[in-house]
């Protein structure tokens, strides 16, 4: 019985989220565009997330290099360290870790902000003031997350590679130029382009889930916490699902 109820709830939620996302394409990206709010959200979502993304990216690159090195040394291929780290960061670890950090910071913040606006009737007040809350609050945030995450990922990848360079130099001496020449010689467009494209989907998922959870917040202040929390959990799971699907898709069309 519980399994049936859970399945029903899951399907109902999936349907509601799909309809909410569908509304973005049918109504959210039509004039009148909220350019000022969009730029403000790009600043808050993109620029303000950069220090966190940069820091985690740097540590990730450094630790990954330090962890990989002993294994490569045992096979006598430590000279391939920049190549391995570069491909791992650009193709998979960079986009996914950045997206998860982004979901934690931005998904929860959107869920809590809109949830709080919902329970204090600010969204209703906005509607009464002649503003379509979906366009003003949802469309701007979803566009901002979709545009900002790929940029943050590329910047995060660059910082992560710098972290990897530091990691390589802990045990040996390599010039910055030599390290990055090795990394970029091993990378092709088919490594970079699919990775960037999937971050667009990650960004869209984080934005739409955060907004959906906030917009449908109930039960007062307790509901705001639930919205923020479930926005992070659901968007993190979605990031992995999208990652799995895009890897399968890129394999299928021969981009790997």
């Amino acid at each position: 019985m519980s399994l049936i109820t859970n399945t029903e709830d899951f399907l109902e939620q999936t349907g509601k989220i799909s309809r909410f996302a569908g509304h973005f394409f049918s109504h959210g990206i039509k004039p009148r565009f909220e350019i000022k709010e969009l730029l403000s959200q790009c600043y808050l979502i993109g620029y303000k997330s950069f220090p966190l993304v940069g820091l985690t990216g740097f540590i990730m690159g450094l630790v990954l290099t330090m962890q990989l090195r002993p294994s490569l040394v045992s096979y006598g291929v430590q000279s391939e360290l920049p190549v391995m780290v570069g491909i791992a960061i650009v193709r998979e670890i960079g986009p996914v870790i950045t997206a998860l950090i982004f979901a934690g910071k931005i998904g929860s913040s959107i869920g809590a902000e809109l949830g709080s606006m919902k329970v204090t009737e600010q969204i209703d007040a906005m509607e009464v003031s002649g503003t379509n809350p979906y366009k003003y609050l949802v469309a701007t945030r979803v566009v901002a997350t979709t545009l900002m995450l790929p940029i943050l990922t590329l910047l995060g990848d660059a910082i992560s590679l710098f972290g990897a360079y530091i990691g390589v130099n802990i045990s040996s001496v390599t010039s910055l130029r030599f390290f990055f020449t090795q990394v970029f010689q091993s990378l092709t467009y088919s490594d970079i382009v699919p990775a960037v494209i999937k971050t667009l989907f990650f960004g869209f998922a984080v934005g739409i889930i955060g907004c959906y959870k906030g917009f449908n917040s109930t039960k007062g202040t307790q509901g705001v916490g639930i919205s923020a929390n479930s926005a992070v959990v659901l968007s993190s799971v979605l990031i992995f699902i999208i990652d799995l699907l895009t890897v399968q898709l890129t394999n299928l069309i021969g981009l790997n």
Partner: protein, 259 residues
């Protein structure tokens, strides 16, 4: 069968004129199995203050949210200034909303904006071509009306409950609406501040000649403001009359609100 003590008619006298501004006919609204409004009808006349009384959860807030188009009724018509809001598209609904103010129970001030930005928001949304000079003039006038001009650049979090209510009232009035819907304007305020808000509502109503539906549990507020009182019970208009008429009613269901 509702106890209708006084049916409003076109022969209404005093300051209230006979032109209807809100006409609600046979309104039905339910949430799941919970029937909130059932065949509810009400007419509000120009410059009239109608207070809607009722128990918590009786559907009073649902009623005014249907009037402004925030909720869609299941059945029935709501004519606001001659337009059926249940059948309007978004653009036409926005046009009607620019003539109807709504004071929310929890004030609903945008907490990420200053007082100035809160007041500018509805102006810039409804009147797209308004100049900055006009905006500033109207914002200052609205704040002077509620005696809070000094809060112009403050954040809502820096203000007291009474000040927030007055700022919310200023935001409601900034578009000079013909109708104002008040959702429990004095709830959560101390008696002195509540009385100040009542007097402010009356002062501004006289100044701008607005008509109002006021949801309230505060009997002092009802006594001070109401031209007419509606008792909403079981989704229906149970009683309709002046404050004095309802206060002296022998009907137990009505009396319990005045005890």
């Amino acid at each position: 069968m509702p106890t209708v003590l006084n049916t409003p008619s076109d022969e209404k006298t005093g300051t209230v004129t006979s032109k209807p501004v809100i006409v609600i006919e046979h309104l039905y609204k339910q949430f799941g199995r919970n029937v909130v409004l059932e065949d509810f009808s009400l007419t509000v006349y120009k410059e009239e203050n109608v207070v809607v009384l009722g128990k918590s959860g009786a559907g009073k807030s649902v009623l005014i949210k249907c009037v402004i188009g925030l909720l869609k009724p299941d059945k029935g018509n709501i004519m606001v200034l001659g337009e059926n809001v249940t059948a309007l598209n978004d653009d036409d609904l926005d046009r009607v909303r620019s003539k109807v103010g709504f004071l929310f129970q929890a004030n609903a001030l945008y907490d990420s904006m200053t007082v100035r930005e809160n007041l500018e928001f509805p102006l810039r949304r409804h009147w797209i071509n308004i100049s900055q000079k006009e905006v500033e003039k109207m914002v200052k006038e609205a704040l002077e009306n509620v005696a809070l001009l000094h809060t112009l650049d403050m954040m809502p979090s820096e203000l007291s409950g009474g000040m927030l209510k007055r700022i919310a009232l200023a935001r409601t009035l900034i578009l000079k609406p013909e109708i104002i819907l008040y959702d429990e304007p004095t709830t959560g305020l101390d008696p002195v501040t509540a009385r100040e808000i009542d007097q402010l509502i009356l002062k501004l109503q006289k100044k701008y000649h607005t008509s109002s539906i006021i949801i309230s549990h505060d009997m002092n507020c009802v006594k001070n403001i109401a031209d007419r009182v509606i008792l909403l019970l079981d989704g229906k208009c149970y009683a309709d009359g002046s404050y004095d008429e309802l206060e002296h009613s022998t009907d137990q269901k009505i009396k319990q609100f005045f005890e």
